[in-house]
């Protein structure tokens, strides 16, 4: 059961670790790390669904009866990777601005400051 769907299990575990990190950490950078893991788990999921058993890389061969892996999910996930990088970059630059204005990147300390103002 576990090894039959090894990649899918890893996908689920990574996804949950990422989500838990986002929820449980108050350090904003750690939150971003968790968010990245959460997204990367989905990349793994897409790459896995493109795999065809016994299939080779999807480059056209001049032989009969060749089984190819499905290249489409891989192409899709390239787009999602770009989106993920953009999200991480934007998130980190927001954290940098937060550090400049609040002087801290700890969520609870920021909330304390916000309540005062």
């Amino acid at each position: 059961m576990f090894f039959d769907h090894f990649n899918y299990w890893v996908f689920v575990i990574l996804l949950m670790i990422g989500l838990y990190t986002v929820i449980s950490r108050s350090n904003l950078v750690k939150k971003m790390i968790g968010l990245s893991m959460f997204q990367i788990a989905v990349f793994l999921f897409y790459i896995t669904i493109g795999k065809v058993e016994g299939g080779t890389a999807p480059i056209l061969l001049d032989k009969p009866d060749v089984v190819y892996s499905n290249p489409l999910p891989h192409v899709l996930i390239l787009t999602a990777i770009v989106v993920g990088v953009a999200t991480t970059a934007l998130g980190l630059s927001l954290i940098a601005r937060i550090k400049e204005t609040f002087g801290t990147i700890d969520e609870e300390e920021i909330l304390e400051q916000e309540d005062k103002s």
Partner: protein, 498 residues
């Protein structure tokens, strides 16, 4: 249909998308704004033409790059997507008419080129989500919209540094929502081998009993609910709306969450199908209570706010609750009410946020304590706010009444205790709305102004667009055949589609 109009579905998205990088290169205060307004107006014109064309001749399909669906990406302009596109581009253009002076006071002029580039990208993303017929494309456009909206919200930092944390909070929650949608689309692709929405819809019946298909429904509904700010996922919305620059709040209040409502309708009715969503799966039992809790609790919370933008933001979550209820009723009347409320609420809420923006422009504050006596100081602005507030309550002759009337008919159509309960709930929520609107009226007209408070009404460049929104909203409150007609047509199309 003219040569240009054959490309209308893609033009409505391409105009703002290609304009954004050009806009980023412009400098100064006038040129970026002018450029953006022209592009948004063009996009609005194209959507208007498209709506009339589709309404007369039926849905239009556009093959990107000439690749036939299901292999290529297809853009589909059907009655629902045209209607939502019209709302989005119309609101965007109206807000831009207002934007020039308002935004110049809130964002430093060296950044305006980039600001409006992000604005155009957000517009392109929303238009793209609405018109695309490809499930993965929805995710891509959603991220274009979301990433630029995080930037736009963070731009409010000059007035209130909490804009930064609000943007970050929205980024985390929004990304989780979008990733859920991505997982859902992945499951659908896994089972059907296609990303084309019409193609998935055709095959959905044969896979609906499988576990991945059920998982897909779960991930998609939750993902969209997060983006929609459906109770209990609304936590990001009040912060984001309160601290964003005023025109950004006005723009998003009318469009961003409405796009998610559109997506929810699209997935539930077009892809999953009515029978599966509400028959096999208990989506009514799931969405109905959430919608009811949303409009009851959020209207109540709105009463206790002392920040005007935050008050309106909570009221937005409540209104989204009405739309959710309309969808959950799974009837043609309910769907009509929901689609109509997208339209009516977009106009009203944008008008209200613009009027708050004008108050901020003059007084420099959106806190209720600083706005006492605003009725004497800014009579035109305050009166527009009061009229908008009446529409929020749902007083007859306002558009709020029209959509609530449709929703009331839809809940009474059920004819059971739940239906009557819903009607009572709507009434209570409207009473809460009376209270929170009255709080502002009382403050504006019956309280003395604080000493040394700035007085004098907003300039005409701000007043005219506000009154444009208010008058248009009243027009659609009295003459409903146009808006309700298109909403009914869209609902019929969705319920009739296989």
């Amino acid at each position: 249909m003219s040569e240009l109009m054959t490309h209308a579905p893609v033009l409505a998205v391409l105009i703002p998308l290609l304009g954004a990088p050009l806009c980023a290169l412009t400098r100064g205060t006038t040129i970026p704004w002018f450029f953006t307004t022209i592009l948004s107006a063009l996009s609005f014109y194209v959507s208007l033409q498209l709506l009339f064309h589709v309404s007369a001749n039926g849905p239009v399909s556009y093959e990107l790059g000439g690749w036939a669906p299901p292999w290529g990406i297809e853009y589909v302009a059907d009655p629902l997507s045209c209607f939502v596109m019209l709302v989005i581009s119309g609101i965007s253009t109206g807000v831009l008419l207002y934007a020039k002076e308002s935004i110049a006071a809130e964002v430093s002029s060296s950044r305006l080129g980039l600001f409006f580039a992000a604005y155009l990208l957000a517009l392109a993303g929303m238009m793209g989500i609405t018109v695309t017929g490809d499930a993965f494309n929805i995710f891509v456009f959603m991220e274009i919209m979301s990433l630029s909206s995080y930037v736009l919200i963070a731009m409010g930092e000059k007035n209130d540094r909490r804009a930064l944390t609000a943007a970050f909070q929205y980024l985390v929650i929004g990304t989780i929502g979008a990733t859920f949608i991505l997982i859902g689309v992945g499951f659908l692709y896994l089972m059907t081998g296609t990303l084309n929405i019409a193609d998935i819809a055709n095959q959905f019946d044969s896979i609906s009993e499988t576990r991945p298909a059920r998982a897909a429904v779960g991930f998609l509904v939750v993902g969209i609910a997060i983006k929609l700010a459906m109770f209990p996922f609304h936590i990001w919305l009040p912060n984001a709306y309160s601290y964003a620059p005023n025109i950004v709040t006005a723009f998003f209040a009318g469009t961003a969450t409405k796009v998610s409502v559109y997506l929810l309708i699209r997935f539930i009715f077009t892809i999953f199908g009515v029978d599966f969503s509400f028959g096999t799966l208990p989506l009514t039992e799931l969405l109905l209570p959430l919608g009811v809790i949303a409009f009851l609790s959020m209207s109540l919370v709105a009463i206790f706010q002392n920040n005007l933008k935050r008050l309106l933001a909570f009221s937005s979550v409540a209104q989204l609750g009405y739309m959710t209820v309309g969808i959950a009723l799974a009837s043609e009347t309910g769907l009509t009410a929901s689609i109509l409320h997208i339209f009516n609420h977009a106009i009203v809420k944008t008008g209200l946020f613009l009027s708050v923006g004008a108050m901020f422009f003059v007084t420099g504050s959106i806190y209720l304590k600083d706005l006492a006596g605003i009725g004497q100081r800014m009579p035109m602005t305050s009166f527009s706010f009061v009229l908008g507030g009446l529409a929020l309550i749902g007083v007859p002759l306002t558009p709020g009444f029209i959509s609530k009337w449709y929703l009331l008919q839809a809940v009474l159509e059920r004819g059971d205790m739940i239906g009557y309960g819903l009607a009572v709930g709507m009434l209570i929520s409207s009473l809460f709305a009376v209270i929170y609107v009255w709080r502002i009226v009382e403050l504006a007209y019956f309280k003395p102004s604080p000493e040394g408070a700035p007085s004098g009404d907003a300039p005409y460049s701000l007043l005219l667009p506000i009154w444009l929104f208010i008058l248009v909203s009243f027009y659609f409150g009295i003459e409903t055949s146009l808006s309700a007609g298109f909403a009914e047509q869209a609902a019929k199309f969705l319920m009739g589609a296989p």
